[in-house]
Symmetry: C2
Subunit: 267 residues, 2 copies
C-alpha cells in the first residue's frame, strides 16, 4: 500500500491518480470483502490491546469530496470495533463560540487520549479547503495554516499520537452517480442537500486546494494517503490494511498491573 | 422480557432475583449467541434510522458490581453498530473541576443529542452507590438525590430522550470466579485492581444501596431492568432484546428532505 502514501513535499496532480485503481489486491470485490472481514477482526483485537495498554493514541483523519465515502468507510472499516475506546468526531460548520477561537481550538479538544482511537470525519483541513475555495478568509491567512497544522500535528505525534490521514479519491463522474442514487432513493433523501450541487460546481477549485494540502501537509509525523475510492470495497480494504499494519507496528502488549498481585487471595 | 422490568416503587430484594436465570430463552448458549447476532444486525439498522431521522435521543445506563459485565455487554450488544452516532461515556472518579460542580453537571454534558445513542458505563447512580457506601457525603445529602435524579431523567425524557437502565445482576460467587480468572491470566492483569477486593468486602452494603436505587428510581420515564448476568450470553441477549424492542416501538422513518428535490438535475 506504499504507493498510496504521499511523500513529504511531493507534488500531487490528482488527475494522475486513478480513482478506479484496485491493483494492490489481486482478487475481486468478493474476495476483497472477505479480506476486509478478516482485517475487521484483527482491528478489533488491536483496538482492545490499544485500550488495555493505555499508552498510544490513534488519530484517523478522513477527508473527501461530498459522497466520497467517509461515512461508508467509518461504517465498514470500524465495524465490530468496541465503541468503548473508539470515537468519531464530526466537524461541521463551526458554531459562534468556535468561530470566536482559533480554528484549531475545537479540533484540539477532540484529539484522542491514551488508549483511544478517534476518527475525524472532516477536520481542521476544511480550514484550508472549503474556507479557501469560498474565500472565507484572505489568502494570507489560510496560507499560514499549512505550517501551523504541520506543527500542531507534529506536537501530537511527539506526545504519543499515531496519525493517519486518508483522502478518499473519487472522480466527478462517480460523484454524479452517487448523488443521483441519493436522489432516486427516498430513503436517502436525508443525505441530499441542494448545496452539494453548488459545491460540485467548484470541483476543480477543490482539487487544486486538495493538491496543495497533500503536498504541504504530508509529513513523517502525519502522512497522507490517497485512497482510490470509486470502488467502495477497495477503499475500505486500503484503509483497513494501512491501519492494521500501522497498529501492528506499534508492538503493543497487555500491560502488567501497577500493583503487586503475587500471593493475592480472593475471599 | 417484562419480568426483568422494575415497576415504579416496587420493593426489590436482590437475593430473590436469580442471577442464573435463562428462562426467557428456550435454546441454550449457542442458539442464544446466534440470536444475539441477529439482534445485532437489527440494531445496526435501527441505529442508522435513529441517526437519519435525527429526532429521538437514546440513553442506555449500565450499572453493575465490579466484573458484572458492563464492558462485555458494550462489546457484544453494540458490535457492528456504526461508531458514528454511537458514543460511550465513562464516569470514573470525578476530577477536581467536576467535584466543584453539582454531581449531575458532568452527566448532563454527556447526554445524547438528536439521532445519537449514548451508553453510560457507570453513571450518576454512583452518587447514590459508591458515595453512599463509603460515606462520601452525609445521608441527608444522598437521600435527596433520588428525587433529583428522577426529575432530571424526567426532563430528559420529556425533551425527547428514550432512557433504558440496566442493572447487571451477578452474585458474589460469580464475582469471585471472574476476579480469579483475571488474576490467573496475565493478559487480564490490567483489569485487576487490589481496590476491587476492598469493594468486594462491602458486597452486602452495595446490594442494599442497589435495592434502594432500583425501588426509588425506576420510573415510566426511565425504567430499570434487572438483568440476570451470571451467564454472559443471556445478559447480552436480554439487553439486546429490550433495546431492539424499544427502538422498534419508536416507529422511526427515514425523513424526507427539508428541501424540494423535485426536478433536480445533477450536472
Amino acid at each position: 500500500m506504499k504507493k498510496y502514501l504521499v511523500q513529504p513535499d511531493m507534488k500531487v496532480k490528482l488527475s494522475e491518480w486513478d480513482p478506479n485503481d484496485t491493483s494492490e489486491f489481486k482478487g475481486g470485490k468478493e474476495q476483497g470483502q472477505a479480506e476486509i472481514e478478516k482485517l475487521n477482526h484483527r482491528l478489533e483485537e488491536l483496538q482492545e490491546l490499544l485500550f488495555a495498554e493505555h499508552r498510544h493514541k490513534v488519530l484517523i483523519v478522513l477527508q473527501a469530496m461530498d459522497t466520497g465515502g467517509k461515512d461508508g468507510a467509518i461504517r465498514h472499516v470500524f465495524e465490530g470495533v468496541n465503541p468503548q475506546g473508539t470515537r468519531v468526531a464530526n466537524f461541521k460548520a463551526p458554531t459562534a463560540e468556535e468561530l470566536d477561537h482559533d480554528y484549531l481550538w475545537r479540533v484540539h479538544r477532540q484529539v484522542p487520549a491514551k488508549g483511544e482511537l478517534v476518527i475525524f470525519n472532516r477536520s481542521h483541513y476544511e480550514d484550508v479547503l472549503v474556507v479557501r475555495v469560498h474565500n472565507l478568509v484572505p489568502r494570507e491567512v489560510w496560507e499560514t495554516r499549512f505550517d501551523q497544522i504541520n506543527e500542531f500535528e507534529e506536537m501530537l505525534a511527539e506526545t504519543g499520537t499515531t496519525i493517519l490521514k486518508f483522502y478518499l479519491h473519487i472522480d466527478k463522474d462517480e460523484q454524479k452517480e452517487r448523488l443521483q442514487a441519493r436522489l432516486d432513493d427516498p430513503n436517502k433523501h436525508w443525505k441530499f442537500r441542494l448545496g452539494d450541487l453548488e459545491e460540485r460546481k467548484l470541483w476543480s477549485e477543490y482539487m487544486q486546494a486538495y493538491e496543495d494540502v497533500l503536498k504541504k501537509t504530508s509529513t513523517d509525523a502525519a502522512p497522507w494517503f490517497i485512497v482510490p475510492a470509486n470502488h467502495k470495497w477497495y477503499r475500505d480494504l486500503v484503509i483497513s490494511t494501512i491501519l492494521v499494519n500501522t497498529l501492528e507496528g506499534l508492538k503493543m502488549k497487555y500491560p502488567e498491573s501497577a500493583e503487586n498481585l503475587a500471593g493475592v487471595v480472593i475471599e
